[in-house]
Symmetry: C2
Subunit: 386 residues, 2 copies
């Protein structure tokens, strides 16, 4: 083994792939596969959700794990967002480097390496993180003390997701006491009470029941914390599927929807609450036909362009549907005799099954209005997983 080569290998000998588009040019010229964002639809989604939050008197802190894009986060902040959420410390570091200065990491950090990075970042921006175990608090306390910085720590409460979070109000109080005892390095900032499992319940009644249960658990913890002299400045949670319910709860002070800005097939399958229109589809895959036979076309984006954990993408060409997907291909077939014609080289739009993992596959978002590319945004925190 050549050790010289090994140690050189840690310097990336590559740059990010070139952008597939140029601002000001026609959409039809955008190279494929790519991801497109319809700015008119995106702006309407932002206005709608931020307006709903404003009307309910709660803050909105959109989840940037959906888009990982500093340019998009800046638009959300310009439209009244408090800052953003991230799911990973590396995402927060990347967005902070791009100018976002108020970030909540809605996840647990374990290990001194990450605790030290969090303490460093807390010296540059307003940073919050979650905890559900005393060891995490102890490591964060040690790191912030050494760095001389101050970090907001929220107790994560499991409100029905069954994943992370303390599972009782008593544990929430004990952990909040440990956080408060680590002042001035740590500041107890409130409760993180997100119910991910409720977001894709299809009927409004199911979602209402799930969030009523989540709010009841959160309410009990908030009361226990207040009784222990630890009032929650922030109670944060909610996603695109349920945000109106948390907003109306009288308990949550902050909403963290992420997908609302882009949307996908999975969220579009939710039945909206009565009197409420669905959010608009702003995110599209953009693929070319590279092979064609009667009744079948092969597109040049596959599993490396679309996240399929929530199902296949949906192709937008009348009379055609997605038959299957492989690493670099999506096969579409015509389903009616009068299906719209297709020629080799034609470019089509597809709606991704799940927006978050799809965006994470791409280095660029091509933002357009009408038929023209308006901006090409780097996916700032793509791949920032640690």
């Amino acid at each position: 083994m050549n050790t010289a080569a090994s140690s050189q290998a840690v310097t990336p000998p590559r740059t990010v792939p070139a952008a597939p588009a140029q601002a000001g040019r026609p959409l039809a010229e955008v190279d494929t596969p790519a991801l497109l964002v319809d700015l008119d639809v995106m702006d309407a989604n932002i206005a709608r959700v931020h307006g709903d939050a404003h009307q309910a008197g709660v803050r909105v802190r959109p989840h940037a794990k959906a888009h990982k894009c500093a340019a998009l986060a800046q638009r959300q902040i310009a439209a009244g967002a408090q800052g953003v959420c991230c799911q990973k410390l590396g995402e927060a570091e990347a967005l902070a480097a791009a100018g976002i200065d108020d970030i909540l990491v809605t996840n647990e950090l374990v290990g001194m390496a990450k605790a030290r990075r969090a303490a460093q970042l807390a010296g540059r921006i307003r940073l919050g993180v979650c905890a559900d175990h005393p060891l995490q608090v102890q490591q964060l306390a040690e790191a912030t003390q050494a760095a001389g910085t101050c970090l907001d720590v929220l107790v994560e409460l499991d409100v029905g997701q069954g994943r992370c979070g303390v599972t009782s109000a008593a544990d929430a109080v004990a952990l909040a006491q440990a956080i408060a005892a680590a002042a001035p390095g740590l500041r107890f900032a409130g409760l993180h009470a997100y119910h991910g499992g409720a977001q894709h319940l299809r009927s409004p009644a199911e979602r209402r029941a799930a969030i009523a249960g989540a709010a009841a658990r959160a309410r009990e913890a908030v009361a226990a914390l207040a009784a222990a002299g630890l009032p929650c400045a922030t109670v944060t949670g909610a996603g695109t599927g349920t945000y109106a319910l948390e907003a109306a709860s009288g308990l949550y002070t902050e909403l963290q929807p992420g997908s609302y800005v882009l949307m996908d097939v999975d969220y579009a399958a939710n039945t909206p609450a009565e009197g409420s229109a669905p959010l608009g589809q702003a995110l599209f895959g953009w693929c070319s036909v590279i092979s064609l036979r009667p009744g079948q076309a092969v597109l040049d984006g596959g599993l490396k362009a679309f996240g399929v954990d929530c199902g296949l993408p949906r192709v937008l060409h009348p009379g055609w549907q997605v038959k299957g997907i492989s690493d670099e291909h999506t096969v579409i077939v015509s389903t009616t005799a009068d299906a719209a014609p297709l020629a080799l080289g034609d470019k089509l739009r597809l709606i991704p099954g799940h927006c978050d993992p799809t965006v994470n596959l791409h280095d660029w978002l091509v933002a357009f209005r009408g038929d023209t590319v308006e901006a090409v945004w780097p996916v700032t925190a793509r791949g920032a997983m640690y």
Copy 2:
């Protein structure tokens, strides 16, 4: 809209995420989530498959879509590979920039933008591409003529996959004639005859039958081409599941397995042919326990660290199994009363469900031997999708 900001936005304001490891350090220090490559196992897989090809008297041109890594491709070439395959022109450009000088793109290119890039790249390395339609040939001919370069073009024949490729020997001859007529810019280089659908047929008998059918179709086309005065210098195909069958066919001159070097849960589910041992598992996800409750642990890698199109990853910790996965978390549960203990911060290995889309999520491969990191390799062509 601020157009100044838009045009600035095409310059990436970010670098590739930092490497999670350092050569020479203990494996236990590698940050999570990450991807590990066991070099002893990988070297054995390479020796085995390249040895099989050598013994059968056929060339091996491993498919780099599985690993996208120039350092790994260089090891395959040092172990006798002719060069590598890529699935995307962008992959070929990235690997060529890193020093790989003989690449076959096993896919169709459509549109003058890509034809021009291929013609440019053909001026720097030996490059081959596939075609299944006269329009592709016409565009490549125009581009190579303008660039003054020469490109190998193989006719892709559909041998059972039902995706790309001409579907008859007569169409193969007509297309090869069009390629040959475009000399000196294009050179008819042979037949691409890959049966992807055969790779994961579980029983050796099913795979044998599928490849017998594929070889029969390829043989008919090769004979028709020879009769038309267009002998196939190369007949290329095969994958990790079937390469021994194509090697023994007496027809194929070149094998393109990709996954053999790393392996995954899906390939391990194939029953090996009689007398043949399975290839070794060289690729592992590496995750930390970030949240813990009785009988359940949450790991810090999810859908953005593991491709799940072929199923969930498998965790390697006695008495534990994967229960579910979400964007940034994998939940594992204990399945026996005497399951191995777990503590917050423990790091575990997981076998990815499908190696190709998993590697494409990562910027780095951490190559190790025993308990020590030997090298940290950039995933050179990660995200190179156009």
